[in-house]
């Protein structure tokens, strides 16, 4: 048990709690999804710190699963939920 690492994990937990504001009020769907991604990254960091703090190396494997699956939700969201309105326009500002 090392209190220092657990204290650092405790500092990171509000970063998740405050980020929830963006899920609740984010204007577009992508804003909400981005916050879920932030939770993934913060969750990996908290797991790494807890693994050092609790002296349990198994938690590194959970962090590995977190990071492997972090992209999956966002990609499904882009492919399935947040498609453009039919036709793609290839005219962008400032070409």
């Amino acid at each position: 048990m090392s209190w220092m690492h657990i204290f650092f994990a405790l500092v990171l937990l509000p970063a998740i709690g405050v980020g929830m504001i963006r899920i609740l009020r984010g204007p577009t769907a992508a804003d909400r999804m981005m916050t879920a991604q932030l939770f993934g990254t913060c969750g990996v960091a908290i797991l790494l710190l807890l693994s050092a703090g609790m002296g349990n190396p198994v938690l590194l494997d959970i962090a590995l699963v977190f990071s492997l699956l972090a992209a999956l939700a966002t990609m499904t969201f882009i492919r399935r939920t947040w498609r453009g309105s039919g036709k793609k326009k290839h005219e962008y500002p400032l070409q």
Partner: protein, 100 residues
């Protein structure tokens, strides 16, 4: 050994403000593109600092390799999904916020 441990602690402490500022940026920045900046850059650097600090403290090559692997995966995942989100926002014709 103690020097390694302490410099690891310093690196971890260095990493925490990056995470907090990533969240602050996500709340404060005005539009989706600027929020993506905050999300990808700040969090990856913060995680990098924490990973390096823990690797210095762990004192084992296997744990170090696993930590670096985790960081690499997060790096790839976040930069790819950041590009995807920005691209579909462009396809949806969401205009970037500009200083008026």
């Amino acid at each position: 050994m103690n020097i390694l441990y302490n410099s690891g602690t310093v690196l971890i402490i260095l990493g925490l403000p990056f995470f907090l500022s990533g969240t602050v940026g996500l709340i404060r920045f005005p539009d989706i593109y600027t929020r993506l900046h905050a999300l990808t850059k700040a969090d990856n650097v913060g995680l990098g600092c924490i990973v390096c600090g823990l690797a210095l403290q762990s004192g084992s090559w296997a744990v170090t390799a696993k930590l670096l692997l985790i960081w690499l995966l997060v790096l790839i995942a976040s930069s790819a999904s950041c590009h995807l989100i920005a691209r579909s926002a462009m396809h949806k014709n969401i205009q970037p916020w500009t200083r008026s």
